[in-house]
Subunit: 275 residues, 2 copies
């Protein structure tokens, strides 16, 4: 969905750069600045440094004089406001609002048949485009800019310390919006583990039982609860087939140190691990 | 739940300050630095500036020589790694992992009765404490530090630009973790809207119908579909009782301009808005 980030009256060049980077890691690129403090903010050293490679976002960014110019073509306007206003659009947490916005529900008619709604009120159709508006670092958004928006997004922060950095707010909104749009895949660093089944775990445990007797750690005459304990430990480990091989290798090496028949004598070949 | 953020070999003082601020807005305060580039990083000007009031986090932060010292008392270790590793813990998106971690499910036994798991594998009990580990800005986490962790969290970013700022990563993980723990409430800026019921909407529309005829906009002899259109518009607006009063006030003012009987003549007193 067409998505635009609008920074209004931004003071710190570093925040503009960091906002560009925050947008780009979440796959967004449309940045508009309304009357930033520095007319040359897109070319300032601190901006470029904090953008850290998101230069295309800066190069394509527009600087405009008024919020009207910034909002051309945008149908759903989201203010971001950390401080309450007397009037204006409903306040929502971003994650909740985005879920509802994309649900394409048909709930509205119910409300007007005389019923009070105790479910979230959402418009019956998805917007075509979404703009996120961010006010200045010191003063946030002006009231008149909030009033024209469809919603005031409030990022849930500690009531005792709500001082969210501007670029951090852009990062969180970009993240939640990207996730709501379906998100990016997380690249699995390790191959999927192929889990061992119960028989493989039982076989490995029987092997260990012999080995532990062989090295003199387990007394077959008085095994106590050692094997059930190990069984539970390995259950929690959710062993892969490869790990079964490793553990059997260890058992084999223990047995080789103690002579081939050391642990075999008085134990059944395959003790049930479920005893 | 006891939560610690561990920054390993951090280079930029500004990132340490921004990380402290990012933690604090999400209600976390336990910060440990392992061998930061600057021994005095907690007192550097850039750190304090970017912390923007999260000074208690900086004041209580510890600087240690080794990761071992940083992890005392922490039971569940989360690496953050943007680049894949051959070995090591499973890679997960933070939001997914946190949900599973807090589910306190009893799924594990099933896996070992010979069934392959096609559901998420979670440990049967919640951890007592969680540490989030972040590597250096340039190189990320070292392999041996990742290997000791229970999971490698990977924030889902654009595959074409995964360059997430360190403090931004701390912000996103702190946000997702706080949300998973129940989150902070969003303070409603505006009082709850009390919705008008169907009868109130219909009464207002009848008032408008008279007024629009009064000012000559609606031709009672050929009303076309004006009133149903307005009805649909106001349905989508989900009118509050207060807004009904405003709209009736406008209708009244229109009628006063045109004489009390101007619009009444040929219209029923309460036209059904559902025609």
């Amino acid at each position: 969905m067409k998505t635009r980030f609008v920074l209004i009256h931004t003071s710190h060049a570093g925040n503009v750069g960091a906002a560009a980077r925050a947008m780009k890691v979440m796959g967004f690129s449309d940045l508009v600045l309304v009357k930033p403090r520095w007319a040359n903010v897109l070319r300032r050293e601190e901006t470029i440094q904090r953008a850290s490679g998101a230069l295309d976002v800066l190069n394509n960014a527009r600087i405009v004089e008024t919020l009207d110019e910034a909002l051309d073509g945008m149908t759903h306007l989201c203010a971001t406001a950390m401080t309450p206003r007397d009037f204006g659009p409903p306040t929502r947490a971003p994650r909740q609002h985005f879920t509802e916005l994309l649900l394409n529900q048909e709930l509205s008619p119910l409300v007007h048949n005389g019923m009070k709604a105790d479910f979230p009120l959402v418009s019956a159709c998805q917007p075509e485009s979404v703009a996120f508006l961010f006010g200045s670092e010191r003063f946030g958004m002006q009231n008149e800019d909030v009033y024209r928006c469809h919603v005031a997004l409030s990022i849930p922060t500690d009531p005792l310390f709500g001082s969210l950095n501007l670029a951090a707010a852009v990062q969180l909104v970009a993240y939640d919006w990207r996730q709501a749009l379906g998100g990016f895949a997380v690249e699995a660093a390790t191959p999927e583990r192929q889990l061992a089944d119960g028989a493989e775990v039982a076989g490995m445990l029987a092997h260990w039982e012999r080995a532990l007797a062989g090295i003199g750690f387990l007394d077959p005459a008085s095994p106590k609860k050692l094997m059930p304990r190990l069984n539970q430990l390995f259950n929690r480990s959710e062993l892969s087939i490869e790990e079964i091989h490793i553990l059997r290798g260890i058992a084999k090496a223990m047995l080789q140190r103690t002579g081939p028949d050391a642990g075999k004598a008085s134990l059944p070949a395959a003790a049930s691990p479920d005893q």
